[in-house]
């Protein structure tokens, strides 16, 4: 008796949040919209104002939660039925939400309204379609990876900026890329990494910074090496069923990265876990160069005391460069009271009117629409930043879609442990074999 009461209570609790709202007409409506980046709130407020002007019956109310709170708050909101109508979403999160029926598929709406998916950078739109062929989002922006370096340190090392755009890399001796990293590394006595007598235990400036071990993603840590070495994350993407972390190409790349730590050119795991972060450390002149994602560009240029420039990621054994290609989109909650209004807003956010005319001009992110990229490049150039090393990946076709997969959080947990351990020299690269087996077991 008692238990059935409890179960009934639990059910009530859960169901209370899940009731589908009444189908809204096209009457006046307020759309609740969430995002996490405060720096982007002004530009989306501008989009919301433009949207309201074009559709006076709809008003958009923007709420911002910082990244650290965003997903907890959103989960709680879903459980209690107070989720926003539309929210900015992330590739690592939306598959879970979609599979739990919390998102409104927009497949039919896209067809009905003839949204031209070819206006987005190639591949981006595919990231938001799940295994069962349902689409949940339209791309709003994209990001790629490049090298950011300290121009003064480069000059001191006697390296010319032109050399930076022609660097090559291979997992055997590291190529010209490793030579530059070694040259840029300086110990406390002023000896460089490629000079005899270099003291790898007392490094003043590391040639290359590192943020984390990269877990199973390594977007800015190692993906540009592994993929220019011909490695792919999995058998297919999106929605793989077998991962390739035990592949020899992956192993040799990780071995090479570990060797840089051993040589003292890259900080050890102990050091990077004892640090506030790559950006601040670079700002203090402790890193001569770093590999970074385009979304952080402005933060680097805002640092006082260091002058920076961009260089493309190195050319690998495949003869090509490589960068992950990633981006955000807006999702609609399944429980929205007003699907029409929500869809209208999502469509507007994914249109040139918002992306090209407003977002591109702010020079914070690259909008997903092809024609808006040039606009954004210009806006960045006006701010004194030549972002071609980011956008050249798109022009040259060297982008690789970010892995979209079920069980991503579990994969991350397994790979964090494994990669941490390898980069700390606690285990060798063969630890990737059992890890990969465990990951593949998740897919049955």
């Amino acid at each position: 008796m008692k238990r059935s009461l409890i179960i009934a209570g639990v059910a009530t609790l859960l169901l209370s949040g899940c009731g589908a709202g009444p189908e809204g007409g096209s009457g006046p409506a307020t759309i609740d919209y969430w995002l996490w980046d405060a720096a982007q709130q002004p530009q989306y407020q501008a989009c919301a104002d433009a949207f309201h002007k074009a559709n006076p019956q709809y008003t958009v109310k923007i709420t911002q939660y910082g990244w650290d709170d965003y997903w907890n708050t959103l989960t709680t909101a879903f459980v209690s039925g107070t989720a926003p109508d539309v929210f900015t979403s992330h590739l690592s999160r939306y598959p879970d939400l979609a599979s739990q029926g919390q998102l409104l598929p927009i497949t039919d709406l896209v067809t009905r309204d003839k949204v031209d998916l070819s206006m987005y950078q190639d591949g981006l739109a595919d990231l938001w379609v799940t295994k069962d062929g349902q689409r949940y989002g339209l791309p709003k922006d994209f990001d790629t990876v490049a090298v950011i370096y300290n121009t003064d340190k480069l000059k001191e090392a006697g390296i010319k900026p032109e050399e930076m755009s022609e660097l090559t890399w291979n997992p055997q001796d590291g190529g010209t890329y490793e030579k530059v990293i070694a040259r840029l590394t300086v110990d406390q006595n002023g000896k460089r990494g490629d000079e005899p007598g270099f003291d790898k235990n007392h490094v003043a400036t590391y040639g290359l910074g590192l943020n984390t071990s990269g877990a199973g993603f390594g977007q800015t840590e190692w993906s540009m090496y592994t993929m220019s070495n011909g490695w792919q994350y999995a058998d297919q993407n999106p929605w793989p069923s077998r991962f390739n972390y035990a592949d020899p190409k992956f192993k040799e790349t990780v071995t090479w990265l570990t060797s840089l730590i051993d040589k003292g050119y890259v900080p050890s795991m102990d050091i990077i876990s004892s640090g506030v972060g790559q950006i601040d450390t670079y700002g203090a002149g402790k890193y001569a160069m770093v590999t970074e994602g385009s979304w952080n560009t402005k933060t680097y240029w805002a640092l006082k005391g260091v002058k920076s420039a961009l260089a493309p990621t190195p050319i690998g054994p495949t003869g090509k460069r490589a960068s992950l290609f990633n981006g955000l989109a807006d999702n609609i909650s399944a429980g929205t009271d007003n699907p029409d209004a929500a869809w209208a807003w999502v469509k507007f956010l994914a249109s040139p009117a918002c992306q090209q005319d407003i977002v591109a001009k702010q020079a914070v992110v690259f909008p997903a629409i092809k024609s808006a990229t040039a606009e954004a490049e210009k806006a960045f150039a006006d701010a004194g930043i030549d972002v071609k090393p980011f956008t050249m990946h798109v022009k040259d076709g060297t982008t690789h879609l970010a892995p979209i997969s079920d069980h991503w959080a579990d994969i991350t947990a397994i790979m964090t442990e494994t990669m941490d351990s390898i980069l700390s020299f606690k285990s060798d690269v063969n630890a990737l074999d059992p890890a990969n087996t465990k990951i593949n077991a998740l897919f049955g």
Binding site: G9, W71, Q100
Partner: protein, 315 residues
């Protein structure tokens, strides 16, 4: 005279021991009035603690990913838990943390409380001691993270200036000790204040009597102060142990559990399971085990501190 006073004070605590054989006529005792006194708290307790706890215990028997209804799977989560090396690792790491944190915190706070009590009545001093507690956990962790940074931190600069090698405070070896130190810093004033409040409850006549007997400060502390502090110390220890088992924020903003799980404490693991991996049923099972563990420890602590009291009386 002295011994009389000393004995007189703890006597009321005898009331904590359940009355073995209450006289039949007083079976109800003060029950009606007691209900009135307890009722408001009991309502808050039932609604905001008991119900969620029961719900949590039920969820630990289900597969539940928060957003779709739970599915009953019996003891499967618990079976999985015993074979989960991360769970055992988290317990080990948490135990290390608790020992380090409680050890340093209790000793420092006790010394601090006694010094505050014996040396000064200054509100300024007292206020300064409590200052760290005014700052939120997350901010405390961030400030120390900056100061202890391997490459940028002021502490490491001083260490280097003194001629030593820089220290990786949040590395695999020292991480958990550093986190324990940071939380000791935040809580020592708070704990000292709890003990201090206990010291204020000790009648001055006790000290006067001890002084007349010619007891030294040291002896008075061990023979008079400490025994009389037992109820408060029991409280402090129980609270600190429970609090330190639930350490979470500091880890989340500094090491994030790494490197290689060296700082993945149990509560951080639970949180990660629930909100990042949507494995709420499993997180509930982990929480339930933690709950039982804590209840056991608290029970032992209370038992031990009570046993101590009766020893004193027998002396």
């Amino acid at each position: 005279m002295t011994s009389d006073t000393v004995r007189a004070a703890p006597r009321p605590t005898a009331g904590t021991v359940p009355d073995k054989a209450p006289p039949r006529r007083r079976r109800l005792g003060d029950l009606p009035i007691a209900i009135v006194f307890v009722l408001p708290a009991a309502i808050g307790f039932a609604v905001f603690y008991v119900w969620p706890a029961i719900r949590g215990a039920y969820l630990s028997l289900t597969k539940y990913n928060v957003l779709t209804p739970p599915r009953f799977i019996g003891l499967e989560n618990y079976r999985q838990l015993f074979g989960d090396h991360l769970f055992w690792n988290a317990l080990k790491v948490t135990a290390e943390y608790v020992v380090l944190n409680i050890g340093t915190q209790t000793v420092i706070s006790m010394v601090l409380a006694v010094l505050l009590h014996r040396l000064t009545r200054s509100m300024v001093v007292r206020g300064i001691v409590l200052l760290p507690y005014l700052v939120a956990n997350v901010v405390v962790a961030l400030v120390w993270f900056w100061m202890l940074d391997f490459q940028l931190g002021v502490v490491n600069q001083v260490i280097e200036w003194l001629g030593f090698d820089r220290v990786a405070f949040f590395g695999a070896d020292l991480g958990i000790a550093t986190i324990a130190m940071i939380n000791t810093w935040r809580h020592m004033g708070y704990t000292a204040l709890l003990i201090f409040a206990g010291l204020l409850m000790i009648p001055p006549s006790v000290y006067e009597a001890a002084a007349i007997d010619g007891a030294s400060e040291w002896r008075t502390f061990w023979r008079v102060t400490l025994p009389l502090l037992r109820p408060v110390m029991a409280l402090v220890m129980v609270l600190s142990v429970i609090g330190s088992f639930q350490v979470f924020d500091t880890v989340a903003v500094t090491t994030g559990g790494g490197p290689i799980n060296a700082t993945r404490v149990i509560y951080f693991y639970i949180y990660d399971m629930a909100f990042n991996r949507f494995n709420f049923g499993y997180a509930a099972a982990l929480s339930s085990v933690l709950f039982v563990l804590l209840a056991g420890i608290a029970y032992l602590q209370l038992r031990l501190s009570r046993a101590g009291e009766s020893d004193l009386k027998g002396a």
